[in-house]
């Protein structure tokens, strides 16, 4: 009797803490270039029909450089710009941030994230788009299930991105 009761109390205690989450790992590869600049990267979620659904992270140069403010080059993240970037007023708290160095970057989100909180359960696509000054552009996609079945996926980039992987739990 008693153990059952404590178990019930235990699940009551833990239930609200168990939130749907999304973990994304993005690798920015080392590139041998005479002139190297860190890439601009947009990490976002779209519907299976390709409509913008949630912005997770945008890394760009949010300051004045020799050639003006870094926001001038955001449209080079072509698909992100078209789908949602151009309607955003950057910087955005919790979404935009500075460019990141070569290496693996782990990002963890849950349903308290302002954009994911609004996302209805269903099938979505994670998009990682990277573009580098005097370099190239690459866009990778991983489909996943939000608040449905647990999802795992990964895809290997071959120019501006390394391995991108995702796991989500309902």
């Amino acid at each position: 009797m008693r153990p059952t009761l404590s178990l019930a109390i235990g699940s009551l205690l833990f239930a609200p803490v168990h939130a749907a989450d999304l973990s994304v790992e993005v690798e920015i590869p080392r590139i041998n270039a005479a002139e190297y600049h860190r890439p601009y990267v947009a990490i976002y979620v779209e519907t299976t029909a390709g409509q913008a659904a949630a912005n997770l992270a945008v890394w760009y140069q949010d300051q004045n450089g020799k050639e003006g403010h870094g926001s001038k080059w955001l449209p080079d993240l072509r698909q992100w710009w078209r789908k949602s970037g151009r309607t955003l007023k950057v910087p955005v708290d919790g979404i935009t941030g500075p460019t990141r160095p070569v290496g693996r970057h782990v990002l963890k989100f849950d349903d308290r994230h302002p954009e994911l909180a609004k996302l209805p359960p269903g099938q979505y696509v994670l998009v990682v788009e990277a573009v580098r000054e005097v370099g190239g552009r690459e866009l990778l996609k991983i489909p996943f299930d939000w608040k449905g079945r647990p999802s795992k996926g990964s895809v290997q980039g071959n120019s501006e991105l390394g391995k991108v992987s995702l796991s989500s739990t309902p």
Binding site: G68, H69, G70, K72, Q79, W81, R86
Partner: protein
Amino acid sequence: MKRTALAFAAGLALFPLAAFAHKTWLLPSQTVIAGDNAAITVDAAVSNDLFYFNHVPLQTSGLIITAPDGSRVSPENLATGRFRSVFDVPLAQQGTYRLAVVNNGLFASWKENGQPKRWRGDADAFARAVPQNAQDLQVSQAITRVETFVTHGAPNRTALAPAGIGIELDPVTHPNDLFVGEEAVFRVLVDGKPRPGLQIELVRGGTRYRDAQEELQATTDANGVFKVRWPQPGMYWMEISSSDDRTSVPQARQRRLNYAATFEVLPQ
């Protein structure tokens, strides 16, 4: 005499006849713009090759720049050289700008005391400049529009509103939202009303580096609408021509209508 002949030649450059086949165009440095202190520069020329300024400059007397809120913007650093005109446009507002060189002119030729006379101007000046009983009077009218569109930030449609005269484009697909492999839909208006049966020609830039024009052709349907699927990214030049008898003065028998526009098509 020499001066009038020169003026007439300049008129031809301004209102190229279809038979001359020269292409009139505006070429913006960018069509999708972001950031502070945004501005673009624009080349304006008349040539056969796209987009190479190797013939004559486009005269910019009819230049109208419409801002996203519908107000007018003045060009900066406007200059006309031997082969091209050039000007800068500050983009202080967020939204879509329409850059257009619009002309609505009359051309008259007649004989006075056995001497040929020529005149060009607008309908208001016509009655004052051309004698009522001019001998062998020939009058024609031309309405031309050469335009392009650029968007700073998110696009809007205020500047796209038709002026209601000559050939115009009423874009169903926003002109700064064109991507390879996707279908764009446009409506063509004549004097503000959809016009079926008009031929559209589209040529991608960079003609110097290929053997064929590779033009795309379309015809407006019963609702004045045509569709195009872009095969490659690049700057595209569009032309639509027509003629009718809806002239501004009764002496003019024919009205020539010409529309040319430049669009940027982006890769996926």
